[in-house]
């Protein structure tokens, strides 16, 4: 059974949703406080949504210096599956584990609504079980979700298939309609939408399941 660590920073608020999401798919998961320095025994790590360290300075700016982040970087380096959702995505970019940055939404509004996404790469721990071109309806819930990067990074992301999810209708001014991306190896992924809030049709959508199923299905380190 896959063991997933859900990291809790002071100010995280989606950790129980993430925990419920992956355990509903049969994974074993536990909350791990941000001062932990060891992630041994886990198959995957999730950095959940919320406002880590109050989002003071910039979202993720202080969280990247939490003691657990060195362990997350090592885990990622060893090929472990790392998923950053919303604030977790912001933390991963601040920590340099994913390229680019997330800037305030173009319309300066906090956005909380379902969005239609397109799967644009299945070469990642989050999208391996989805199909290319598949449409997923998953809610967003953020103020700083506009993906920004320089031209060189943008070209590289596209050329290497690191853009894994795009918005069908860009809600926040993200460059290239990017909603989610992966590192080069595909073992570190970040996205602004919340798949853990789209786990049941009773609650609006079950389209997040295929993403989290992909993630909890990873039992080995990604080597190439």
């Amino acid at each position: 059974m896959t063991r997933v660590a859900v990291v809790v920073f002071p100010g995280s608020n989606c950790e129980y949703d993430a925990l419920a999401g992956v355990t509903s798919l049969g994974a074993q998961a536990e909350l791990v406080w941000h001062t932990t320095k060891d992630l041994a025994g886990f198959d995957g790590v999730i950095l959940p949504g919320g406002f880590a360290h109050g989002d003071y300075l910039r979202p993720g700016a202080l969280a990247r210096f939490s003691p657990i982040m060195d362990a997350v970087a090592r885990f990622a380096d060893e090929g472990g599956a790392v998923l950053g959702i919303c604030n977790g995505f912001q933390v991963l970019t601040e920590a340099g584990l994913l390229p680019g940055a997330l800037q305030k939404n173009a319309g300066l509004k906090f956005l909380c609504r379902p969005t239609a996404l397109e799967v644009t790469s299945t070469d990642s721990v989050l999208t391996s079980r989805a199909s290319l071109g598949q449409e997923l309806v998953i809610p967003i819930n953020h103020f700083s979700g506009a993906y920004v990067c320089d031209d060189e990074t943008f070209e590289r992301l596209q050329a290497r298939g690191q853009v894994i999810l795009r918005y069908r209708e860009n809600p926040n001014g993200s460059r290239g309609d990017i909603a989610g991306l992966a590192n080069e190896r595909g073992n570190v992924v970040g996205l602004m939408p919340h798949p853990e809030r789209a786990m049941s049709t009773l609650l609006g959508s079950a389209d997040g399941r295929v993403l989290l199923e992909s993630f909890v299905g990873v039992r080995e380190r990604v080597t190439s």
């Binding site: 601040e94 680019g100 800037q103 173009a106 920004v148 990067c149 320089d150």
Partner: protein, 86 residues
């Protein structure tokens, strides 16, 4: 010596600045015309203990690049404001 340092963080050229744009759009309604290129940023003030001015600025620049700004989207400039008696 103790130096009073101000660090200003602004968005890099070419990065969308929705806050600055919104402020600029609000100005004419208040009767302020002829104002353009409004940019929103952050300002940090701190006392820095250092040997001399250069060392204080070097420290401020280093911490501004490491923590106060995200070099992907922001520029940081440190300047000496005045010497504070500590």
């Amino acid at each position: 010596m103790n130096f009073f340092v101000v660090v200003e963080v602004t968005l890099r050229h070419g990065i969308a600045d929705p806050e600055g744009a919104t402020i600029e759009r609000a100005l004419p309604a208040l009767g302020f015309t002829g104002v353009s290129n409004v940019q929103a940023g952050k300002s940090f003030r701190m006392n820095i203990e250092a040997e001399n001015e250069d060392a204080a600025l070097e420290k401020a620049t280093a911490l501004a690049e490491r923590l106060l700004s995200n070099p992907v989207i922001e520029d940081a400039v440190a300047r000496l404001a005045e010497v504070h008696a500590s």
